[in-house]
């Protein structure tokens, strides 16, 4: 989180992720989602801003003919949402132009979720989907061999229209969701994801318990004090072997 703030301050260009890797959270935080019109699975229409007003909104991207990640991701999200406290809405947006409201209703029934539980399934127009993809780093690519879309699993936590957290992958841990929802209520999350493999982390964060545990970096923080004391002891030991000045006679240098 802190790194992302730094990156935003630096104004690093928003690198679009390579189409074979999921988007990196740091690069899309605090982006505003475009207020696009959506067609909901019950046939009604709504704007994205209506769905994200008043409550946090969890957004994910699916297509109903998916033979891969979509259903497991939705089920994982359902499981995490059942354990999470506080009010929020969930929106699954289809990026497949072939999907119809009926297809989306069928998917909702298949996963076992309903609008009255805060779930919405919706279709965005292709041009609007492109606008959403641009600010979220989400991508999808038609693979004619498998006749499926390649796409990452992605869940956005949207607060007042802006991306507050993002999670890429096929599952949504309950601890992540709870932590992100607490963030929407102004509580700071202690986690600090860092890109790549980091040598000497100060602390490791356990999202399940919310606790921080020491790591090797914390030892490095104590090293300077230790080295200074050792150096001082060495210097003074050497000095004492060559005491030249009698301290009895005078305080001043003779």
């Amino acid at each position: 989180m802190r790194t992302c703030v730094v990156l935003l301050i630096l104004g690093l260009p928003m690198a679009l992720p390579a189409p074979d890797s999921p988007p990196i959270e740091d690069q899309y935080l605090y982006q505003a989602l475009p207020d696009v019109p959506l067609k909901l699975s019950d046939g009604s229409e709504a704007r994205l801003s209506q769905l994200s007003s008043g409550k946090p909104l969890l957004v994910t991207f699916v297509f109903t003919r998916c033979a891969g990640i979509c259903s497991p991701l939705l089920r994982s999200l359902k499981g995490a949402a059942a354990k999470a406290e506080g009010g929020f809405r969930i929106l699954a947006i289809s990026f497949d132009p072939r999907d119809t409201p009926a297809d989306l209703s069928a998917l909702a029934a298949h996963v076992g979720v309903a609008q009255k539980q805060g779930w919405n399934f919706a279709i965005a127009a292709p041009a609007d989907m492109q606008r959403i993809a641009k600010v979220t780093g989400f991508w999808f690519q038609w693979d004619s061999t498998s006749r499926q879309y390649d796409h990452p699993g992605l869940v956005l936590v949207v607060d007042r229209g802006r991306i507050l957290r993002m999670r890429a992958g096929g599952t949504v841990p309950a601890a992540f969701l709870q932590e992100a929802l607490e963030e929407t209520r102004g509580k700071l999350a202690k986690s600090y994801p860092l890109p790549g493999k980091v040598a000497f982390r100060c602390f490791q964060y356990d999202p399940a318990t919310g606790e921080l545990a020491f790591d090797w970096g914390a030892v490095l923080m104590l090293l300077p004090g230790g080295v200074a004391i050792v150096l001082a002891v060495v210097v003074f030991r050497r000095g004492r072997t060559r005491v030249r000045i009698s301290m009895k006679n005078s305080l001043m240098w003779p």
């Binding site: 730094v6 980091v198 300077p224 200074a228 001082a232 060559r242």
Partner: protein
Amino acid sequence: MDAAMDRIRRVTLVWMITALVLFPAMTLLGYLIRRFQASPTPAAHPEWFYSLLTLHALGMVGTWFVSSMAGVSYLLSRYVRPSPAVSLGAFFGTLAGVVLVCLATVGGFFGAGWYFLFPLPLYPNGAWPAWATALFFGALALLGTSWLVWALDVLRAISQRYSLSAALCLHYLGASTEPEVPPIVLITTVSLIVCISGLVSAVIVLVLFAAHWAGWLNVDALLMKNLTFLFGHTLVNISLYLGLGIVYEVLPGYAGRPWKTNRIVAMAWSSILFLVLFAYFHHLYMDFAQPGWVQTLGQIASYFLSLPAAAVTIFGVLNLIYGASMRWTPASTLFVLGVLGWAIGGVAAVIDATVAVNFVFHNTLWVPAHFHTYFLAGLVFFVLGFIDHLGRELSPGEEPKGLSKFTVALLVVGAYGFVATFYWSGASSVPRRFAAYPDEVMRGAAHARTSLVFIHVFLLGMILYLWMAGRRCVRALFS
């Protein structure tokens, strides 16, 4: 005259004259960056603000560290013998470092701030070239190495006369007062051990920066921030302590009374050795990835770091002056005023080191307000007092009394007026480090315009001071 002592005097004069050149130059930079903030419209080249701010801050911190270090080394030579050659080596190292920093900032626009927080220096996004970052880090390495060797040499000199426990006055904590140890020895020993820890921390930071730059490893930004502030905070902190060491040693001469170490003085100063390593956590209160207990430790250490030493010193100064037939010269006046400024800045710092307050004040101009108070109206006064004292000792002669008083008055009015505008801005939520203020906090520009008046007053005082004390030092060097 003892040839070794003569060399020490000359090296000290060289350091002090350098400080008298660097200080007005860095003050002019401060004036320029405050002018950016005073403007109601954004400047055409805001990148200048950040490179000048970097140069101003590092230049000031460096100037006051080396001059207080040179001051205590000179005064310590009454009891022990620091090497003038090592001091001279540190001088040339510092000079080369200053040139590199100037090239990096003014030539290359390096503007990551004087504590260059990771990863900004490596990702300037076109604001400055990579060579400017390399020069800046080269300068830090050079300065750090020169100062480390210098600090080790002064400790070596102390070690030739005192054991470590004696130099830390641990025997005073029991019943014994033998051997008698002057406060300057205690303060210098504590400060230099702490200084070494800060410099070692800087070495680790530079190595990690280099490793990250070379693509060998990813670095934890939180670790870098901790280590960077362990370096930056301790360097600033001990510069003040070394300045106080000067006051403990010189002020008694003006009061005609001794200021000796006793159990309370020993306790207050030796405890710093441990506390200072944790006090810097108060720079990371906003870093929520740092556990809560670390923040609490930072608050406690900050309180116990400042309060005992301040209480003991303020009480000591009052005790020294009360009923004494004080000789009031610019030196003694500046020492006493400096302790006052240090105390005022210290109170503001303690307020800011309180977690609950810091959540509101952090990143407002309150922070520069407190550290400018104890620097400009504290440490700067200690060193200017010392330079005046040294100049009079080595090249006697009197200026008109009225002129001396007027000079000190200008410095005091200028310094307090200037920092008052920072406090004023801080209390009204004006952010720090803004080259131009957005409409919501445009009041900051008005405060900055007011401060320009006081900076002029301060600069006028500085010119008069240079004419008096500066000339004396130059005369003494070439006599």
